[in-house]
Amino acid sequence: MATSIEDMRKSRKVLAGYDYEQAGVEKGYTGKTLYINISDYTIKPKDVTEEMKDIFIGGKGFGLWYLWNGIKPETKWNDPENEIVISSGPIGGITQYPGSGKSLVVTLSPLTKSIMDSNVGGFFGPYLKFSGWDALEIQGKSEKDIVVFIDGDKGRVTIEEVDIDPAASHLVSEQLTELLAENEKDKKNISIVSSGSGGENTNIGILNFSFYDLRRKAARMKQAGRGGIGTVFRDKKIAALAVKFSSLSGRSNNPADPAKVAKTGVKITREINKFDAEQFRMRQIGTANLMTPMNDYDLLPVHNFKYGSHPDAVGISSDTLRDRFTQNMPDGCWVGCALSCCKAVDNFELKTGPYKGDKVLVDGPEYENAAGLGANCGIFDADYVIEANFYCDTYGIDTISTGTLIAFAMECYENGIIDKKITGGLELNFGNADAAMELIHQMGQGKGFGKIAGQGVRRMKQIFAEEYGADPAFLQDIGMENKGLEYSQYQAKESLAQQGGYAMTNKGPQHDEAWLIFMDMVNNQLPTFEKKAEALHYFPMFRTWFGLMGLCKLPWNDIIPEGNSQTESPEKIPEHVQNYIDIFNAVTGKNIDQDEMIRQSERVYNFQRIFNLRLGFGTREHDAAPYRALGPVTEEEYESRIERYDNQLKEDVGIDPSGMSIAEKVKAMRKYREGRYETLIDVVYDRRGWTKNGVPKLEKIKELGIDFPEVVDVVKKNL
């Protein structure tokens, strides 16, 4: 491998090139997308039709549409025809409103074998658009590692061989930024997408999207983490994608009404400046501000989601992590984001692994990392969490899946399902930070037990049952995956609505569709099945919208405007919803209202459901949840919250628990909770316009205007 940037520069060999003239951005769209086939080196533009804009909008919508057209029902994740599509959206790239630099990545997942989408910050999506492309669609499979360069300044796309080691994402980002920049100042004009050795060795590979931090003089990274997109990336032998665009301005997105965009942005930026310090402290702690409240409300996953709190959680509490983050830095992952939540630990000295002794910048830990890698594995040590976070990112493996799958392996180890012989000597007891760290290295490097663990919880369940004689029913109960994707890090046992919010998702149990725990469990705002179903309609549709636009969800409700408490639905943050409608209209020149906003999402959401059907998924059986997500699996769990559960048996189920054994109580509770979950599915499907089997009805897809012949065909086959 090249030992210097100069050597790397000399090693560049152009395999294919394409020169283009930028059409410019008009009302949030360039009207062109970039198709690259890395098998035969085709590079060509595609036109964005008005129908695409009207129905699929952008972001995830464009990704789904291209993937639908690019693959067949029998296509597998590692077939050359699988695609990786990256798209921001019409609002993506504005600098006036916080959280407007997101990209959505869509592919066929090695974990779920179906559609995966993952949202990510960093500069790549906006720079891609401003370089002339509303989306990047990559198909094919290279025989050797390649780098795709998109030079938005010169209007040139190249597929190149470059002498670079793709194993460590933090180095790939740093080196390619250095390679492409003409000087230090120029580095901010570059963004790199890379994965790492974990993308090659596991099914939970991620994509890191870089953004250059001028203050720190470092290429930092945000992650498209869910569902193994990095695994697809490395399977295609892509070492990296790089984009350069040097003319960013407040007008780059060329909105129809720039004054309106600016005015709306000024309003919320003032709110953030005024209220963040007394509300969620995003600018001090980022999403890790949730650590303490989640523990206080018994919602922090502990020991593979057995429990919701732990006395030692102070070791990774919000304030403990705040003290590790460098303060008073403009930590936005896109230009103009006043919420600045992507906190970092600077000069962290690594204690393990290939970079032991190096002082590194660690992006995070965010809430999910601290909760999953830490609490869920029974490890309440901030140093461990920070180091594990760093290595997951640079190996290119998903922190959320990593946390959940290590916690699962730990519970299996403690139950004697696996032992030291199987783990290669790792003593995977809850709380064993050294063993967990070693397992992360093994996953990243494709060694030892890491080769099994890195395949994910669903595959581990299969291996443990088939090869080690474990009880498949018990593994199903405690293995926290649905559709093949590992659960994200919230304890949902006491919120039926959130149980649905996790398991009735399109891609698997990620909280980006709905987070209803407080509305349901604490506020008791959803006391009936109908109210839960309404929330499980509205919030997934509302939140899908962010992924069509290039927007981050956080400025919606991680800052609360003045007077919000006096509104009819404070939980919806009506003023901010109106902000989004105003911005969409101001950018695109269209004139939508709140109803149309939800319908925009509904079209894409239902299309994604039908896409799952087309691939053999998407029906009711795939919305089943592991019982650990619904209630106490073991007597130990029941006893830990015995007062709560006994009261529920008495008051909710109508059973007198006195005189019952714990085993009998667990059984009675399970029957009750599983029955309620099935009823919830019925009511939610009905609200969404789906059959009892979860198939969108023909009248629904007609009403939404997505009744294309091939879509109707898929639906009819499943009715």
């Binding site: 007394e278 509300q279 969620f280 402290r281 999403t287 949730l290 303490t292 409240p293 206080d296 409300y297 965010e366 809430y367 999910e368 919230y490 909280h511 709905a514 987070w515 209803l516 725990i517 407080f518 509305m519 604490v522 506020n523 008791n524 705002q525 006391p527 919030f539 919606w556 409700n557 609360i560 919000n564 408490s565 006096q566 404070p570 939980e571 943050i573």
Partner: protein, 65 residues
């Protein structure tokens, strides 16, 4: 007895919004409190009395990470 988020809670003499939230372990930084339908601003929580038989809503404003 009072009702908090639809559930019965024992009333205590000299109960204020602040004392109630403490009793419920409602530590979240952004809660909208209504006592008998009236929104009580955070600055008034310390002194605002909760009479017996009150209906209280303490709505936590959060929708996840």
């Amino acid at each position: 007895m009072i009702e908090v988020n639809g559930k019965k809670v024992e009333w205590e003499k000299d109960m204020t919004v602040e004392k109630l939230l403490k009793k419920m372990n409602f530590t979240f930084p952004k809660i909208v409190v209504r006592v008998n339908g009236k929104v009580i601003e955070k600055s008034d929580w310390q002194d605002y009395p909760i009479p017996d038989q009150s209906v209280v809503q303490a709505h936590h404003l959060i929708a996840g990470g």
